[in-house]
Structure formats: structure tokens, C-alpha cells
């Protein structure tokens, strides 16, 4: 049973980690805790649902399952479009709200409050459009394969794990090996100074929104594929995301992923030993422990 709890925790942790990378990037570069990040996850999941439904309607070939997976080609195609659209949504919210507040020189906490208002607006719009009824990408049932050691996982779950690993490595390489990555790290160190030495700060901010939204969309699609799609899915993930971002250390991509896995594993162990009804409290306990013992987090520079 413990082996299975570890497997479930690993899968949940991978989704938390992907979301937490987006939070940690916006936090370190735009310098505010974005409470609307959870809504990017939900919007990503619903956009993919609507697009994949539309593609399936156009051609029924697209809905027949690919190999061992539960979904057809309509979902990966829709996912690519949904990632772009979620990025557009983030850029629009920046243009309408956050960018204007930044231009007015609003304090950090005004941005946090605006993100809080944006979160409720976005979530309620989803509720209005899709109702609160849970939705699914496919109705196909999957049999979990034994992996040895008492662990079982469905092909979908293994795909999600593999994809998360690839994306973390890719983001890490992007930040450490490319010009835009170097600019991003410079802006997170000191925005004014990097502007002075000729870094296009606005381009960096756009890149951060696109990256964060894209990762949120992927996390949302995975959560929707493995669990279900609900308007509140992002909001329910928000506390684990913040806990992971702070545990990993603000600004650290590997830290966010590792901390996401830790949060996911703790949650699934708590479900095993304490009871499923207390799952949502685990992230808070981790958050309080980090703030008490080591507010910098695992790989953070400043508290």
C-alpha cells in the first residue's frame, strides 16, 4: 500500500511542481504572489477540453485512442493550442491589470490584491460557462499496469511523469544556457539595473507570463486527464503550489519541482495514514514549518 501511495504522491507532486515553477518565476521576476495562477491551470484545462471536443467533432479519427493511452490525437493537438491561448490570457491580464498597476508604481500588495480579484473573476467566468459539473477528456477506462514492488500506474500517469521530467529539464536549460534565460535571471536580481544595461525588461516579463501560463496549462491538462476537470481545480491547488514555491525557494526551478514532489508525496502519505479529509491541510503544515524553520526554502537566496 505504501508503494502505491508513493506512486500516487509522485504523480500528484509532478503536477504541483509544474504549477509551482510558474508561481516561482512570476514571484521572482514580477515580484508578487500571483493568486490568479491557479486560474491559469483551470483555464488551461477547460481550453484544452473545448478545443479537443471541437477537433473531435471535425474528425472522428482524432478521438480514437493512441496506443496504450486513453486519449486520441485530438488532445495533444488541443493541448498545443490551449498552451498558446493560456499564454494569451496571461498577457491580456497583464495588459489590462497588472501592467497598468506596475506602471502606476503600485506596491507589491496592491498587485497581490488585484490578482485576488482577477482570480475570482476568472474562476466565476469558468463556472458560468461550463457549470460546476466535473468534466473529462475521455470516458475510456484504463487498467493500471503493475510496475513491480507493489506499484501500479496507468500509461497516462507514466506519460505525465515523463513529460514533467522533460519540461523541468527544458526550463532549467532555458534559464541557465540561453540569452533570454540570462536576462530573466538578471531582471530577477535587479530590474532597474538590468534595464540600464540594455535588457528588454518588457520582453522578459512577457516571456515569464508565457512560460508560467504554458506550464500551468500543462499541469491543468494533466490534472484533468488523471483526475477530473472542475472550475475549482486550480483554486484547490493554489495552497500546495505556494507551499512548494516557498519550500523550494523563490526563484529556483529545480527547487520548485523537488518541493512539488515533496508536497505531493506528503499529501498522499497523509491520505494513507491520517485520512483523506485532511489532505488540504498538509500543504499548510509544510508552509508553516518552512516559514518557522528556514524561510529561505531549500534553494532560495532571500527570505
Amino acid at each position: 500500500m505504501i508503494a502505491q501511495a508513493l506512486m500516487d504522491g509522485l504523480i500528484a507532486g509532478a503536477m504541483i511542481g509544474l504549477g509551482a515553477i510558474g508561481i516561482t518565476l512570476t514571484y521572482s521576476i514580477l515580484r508578487f504572489a500571483n493568486f490568479a495562477h491557479g486560474e491559469l491551470i483551470s483555464w488551461g484545462a477547460y481550453l484544452a477540453l473545448a478545443l479537443s471536443g471541437g477537433l473531435g467533432y471535425l474528425s472522428s479519427n482524432l478521438t480514437s485512442s493512441i496506443g496504450p493511452f486513453s486519449f486520441g490525437w485530438s488532445l495533444p493537438l488541443a493541448a498545443i493550442l490551449a498552451i498558446m491561448l493560456t499564454g494569451v490570457l496571461a498577457l491580456v491580464s497583464d495588459a489590462l491589470l497588472f501592467g497598468r498597476l506596475r506602471a502606476k508604481g503600485g506596491s507589491v500588495i496592491i498587485m497581490v490584491m488585484a490578482s485576488f480579484g482577477a482570480a475570482l473573476t476568472l474562476r466565476s467566468l469558468l463556472e458560468f460557462t461550463f457549470t460546476t459539473k466535473p468534466a473529462y477528456y475521455t470516458n475510456a477506462l484504463q487498467i493500471a499496469m503493475p510496475l513491480g514492488g507493489g506499484m501500479r500506474a496507468t500509461p497516462d500517469q507514466l506519460l505525465a511523469l515523463g513529460l514533467s521530467a522533460i519540461m523541468v529539464v527544458a526550463i532549467h536549460l532555458l534559464l541557465t544556457r540561453t540569452a533570454i534565460g540570462r536576462s530573466m535571471r538578471a531582471v530577477s536580481e535587479n530590474q532597474q539595473l538590468s534595464g540600464i544595461v540594455g535588457i528588454d525588461v518588457r520582453k522578459v516579463i512577457r516571456t515569464v507570463w508565457l512560460l508560467g501560463a504554458g506550464l500551468a496549462c500543462v499541469a491543468g491538462i494533466m490534472a484533468g486527464l488523471l483526475v477530473q476537470i472542475r472550475p475549482h481545480m486550480g483554486h484547490d491547488l493554489l495552497l500546495p503550489l505556494f507551499a512548494a514555491a516557498i519550500l523550494g525557494g523563490i526563484g529556483s526551478v529545480p527547487g520548485a519541482m523537488l518541493a512539488g514532489l515533496i508536497v505531493g508525496l506528503s499529501e498522499s502519505l497523509a491520505v494513507q495514514f491520517i485520512g483523506a479529509e485532511w489532505r488540504a491541510a498538509v500543504a499548510f503544515v509544510i508552509l508553516v514549518a518552512v516559514l518557522l524553520i528556514h524561510p529561505k526554502g531549500l534553494f532560495g537566496r532571500v527570505a
Binding site: 508578487f32 504572489a33 493568486f35 491589470l97 497598468r100 498597476l101 502606476k104 503600485g106 507589491v108 500588495i109 496592491i110 497581490v112 490584491m113 488585484a114 485576488f116 480579484g117 482577477a118 475570482l120 473573476t121 474562476r123 466565476s124 467566468l125 463556472e127 458560468f128 457549470t131 460546476t132 483554486h235 493554489l238 495552497l239 505556494f242 507551499a243 516557498i246 479529509e277 485532511w278 488540504a280 491541510a281 500543504a283 499548510f284 508552509l287 508553516v288 516559514l291 518557522l292 524561510p295 527570505a303
Partner: protein
């Protein structure tokens, strides 16, 4: 007809004034001190549950049955919420400003979970009923009952308002605003910023607890569904619209936003067929969310902006016009 109308008006104002108390509490934290609390609903719930447990008659479903007087329940709710606020504040106030926001957000989630799952204490999903209501012996006469309850609420709001106005104009209030405006300067003058912030956060949380207790005794039951994040959001909208930093603005915003909220709820129940009403209710939240963002962008001071206060003993220009005139001369 007119009796019913007065009765409804009294009911509406009573509920609006319970929100006004929450708003006044948030104003101490945000308006005066600049502390961002995203867990208002959690602190309100603590006050409501503690007061309910202290005052309800004995019952097998949950802890309590102390049957204490209502006033003791209100005090207990206030103190409990203040203690929890103090603990959350002690954990996060010395760190980055938005860590407090994240921690209060988490605290509200945990309070909600405890209310749902600690059945022996809180009665679980069904909550606690039969909370004694003030003047319940008059329940046969709805008009007198609702007017007396409104009177109690007016007294509580007036009491909190006067106490806060006095605090704001005291040296303590000046230190709070000094820290909010320029922490380094306040520190240089020997003021312990963390200590003052913590005090303000605990006082604000206590007032929210009082609001929760008063609300619970007015409606007569508490249940986890009363304290969802949307409550936090409503209180924030009230304070921002009314004008943060201004206690009168907090009360005005509470009555106004609650009025818009109930009016839009009524409009939805008339305009939409029953099967679509739950869906349309989401539009209500969209509307308030857009309004909050718009006020932040277009009129950050709210309807009544903050009044500039230096000391009770110094006459100061208070309105924008007076300030402008003072600058000209």
C-alpha cells in the same frame, strides 16, 4: 405592507452592519497598517464557532453546551480570533509582505477543514444550531424583534467605530501609519515595527471574530458553508470601495456593497429561470471582481479616502479641497 418593508429593511441593515464590523477589523489590518489578510473568512469563522460553542445549550452532537450568556460568547469569539491572528502574524510578519497573504489564505483553508471534519467540536458539515438569539423572547413580534436586533448591531458598530477612531488618533495609530509609509524612518525613531504590526493584526483579527460571533447569534446557526472564500472577497470589496484607511468608509462600503449584492441576487432570481440561477450567480462574483480591479486601477482611494490625521491636538486640513487650499496659501 409597510411593516414588512420596515422589517426587511431592518434585517438588511443588520446583516450589512455585521459586514461593517468585519470591514472595520480589516481596516485596522490593511487600511491603517498595510497588512494583507486573505483569510478574513477564517477569522470570522473562529469567532462564530467559539461563541456558538460557549453559548449553546447542551447537545450530544458537538462539544459545548456551556449555555453561557451571549456577551461572554462574543468576548470569547473575539479573544479566540485575536489569539489565532497573533500566532499567524508572529509566524509571518517579519518575513516578506506577501508571505502573510499566503499564510492567512492557508489558515482560512485549515479553519474550513476543521469546521467540516472535527465533528465532535464543530458539528461537522451540519454545523451548530439553536444558537441563542438576543431578545428571542420577542420572536413572536417580528417587528420589535428585528428592530431591537438592529439596535444591538448599531450599538456594537458604534462602539467599535469610536474605539478605533480613538486608536487611530492616538500615538499608537500614528506609529502604525508611520511604519506603513516609511518603515526605515520609523525604525530609526526607535519604533519596533514588527511589534506594532503584530498588535494591529491581532486587534483586527479580534474584531473579525466579534463580527462572526454577532452574525452567528443573529442568524442562529453556524455551518462551514457560511465561511467560504467568497466572504473574504466581499469584505475586501467593501473596504476598497468604501475607502481603505477610513473607518466611516469601511461602514459605508459594507452597506453599499451588500446592497448591490442583494439587489443583484434579487435581479438574478427574477430574470433567470430556476435551472440557470446557480450559473447566473457566478456572474455576480464576476461583477464584484471586475469592480474591485476597476477601483484599484481607477480610484485607489475608494469613495471616502483616508483622512489625514496627525494628532487630536492639531487642527489639520482633512478634505482634498482643504489640502489644496492649504498648499496654495
Amino acid at each position: 405592507m409597510s411593516v414588512e418593508l420596515i422589517g426587511y429593511g431592518a434585517f438588511f441593515l443588520t446583516i450589512a452592519l455585521t459586514y461593517a464590523i468585519m470591514c472595520l477589523g480589516l481596516n485596522v489590518q490593511w487600511g491603517q497598517t498595510g497588512l494583507f489578510n486573505v483569510g478574513v473568512a477564517g477569522f470570522v469563522a473562529i469567532g462564530a464557532y467559539v461563541s456558538a460553542i460557549l453559548t449553546t445549550p447542551d447537545s450530544p452532537g458537538h462539544l459545548g453546551g456551556f449555555g453561557l450568556p451571549i456577551v461572554i460568547g462574543w468576548l470569547g469569539g473575539t479573544v479566540a480570533a485575536a489569539v489565532v491572528s497573533f500566532l499567524i502574524g508572529a509566524l509571518t510578519i517579519r518575513l516578506r509582505a506577501d508571505y502573510l497573504a499566503i499564510a492567512t489564505f492557508g489558515a482560512a483553508v485549515v479553519v474550513q477543514l476543521c469546521a467540516l471534519n472535527l465533528e465532535p467540536v464543530t458539528g461537522g458539515p451540519f454545523g451548530i444550531g439553536f444558537i441563542p438569539r438576543p431578545f428571542s423572547n420577542l420572536a413572536g413580534e417580528p417587528l420589535a424583534f428585528s428592530l431591537l436586533n438592529l439596535g444591538v448591531l448599531v450599538l456594537v458598530v458604534a462602539g467599535v467605530y469610536l474605539a478605533l477612531e480613538r486608536l487611530v488618533r492616538s500615538p499608537w495609530g500614528r506609529v502604525l501609519r508611520a511604519i506603513r509609509e516609511d518603515e526605515t524612518a520609523a525604525l530609526a525613531l526607535g519604533k519596533n515595527a514588527v511589534k506594532f504590526r503584530l498588535q494591529a493584526f491581532a486587534i483586527g483579527g479580534g474584531i473579525m471574530g466579534l463580527a462572526g460571533a454577532v452574525h452567528a447569534h443573529f442568524i442562529g446557526f453556524v455551518a462551514p458553508d457560511n465561511y467560504v472564500p467568497i466572504l473574504t472577497f466581499q469584505v475586501w470589496a467593501m473596504l476598497i470601495v468604501g475607502g481603505s484607511g477610513n473607518n466611516r468608509g469601511a461602514i459605508l462600503g459594507a452597506v453599499l456593497v451588500w446592497g448591490v449584492w442583494t439587489a443583484s441576487a434579487a435581479a438574478i432570481s427574477v430574470l433567470f429561470p430556476p435551472e440557470h440561477q446557480a450559473r447566473a450567480a457566478a456572474l455576480q462574483i464576476v461583477m464584484i471582481g471586475v469592480a474591485l480591479c476597476a477601483v484599484l486601477l481607477l480610484r485607489p482611494r475608494g469613495m471616502l479616502g483616508e483622512v489625514r490625521v496627525v494628532s487630536r491636538h492639531v487642527a489639520m486640513p482633512t478634505t482634498n479641497q482643504e489640502i489644496a487650499n492649504a498648499r496654495k496659501t
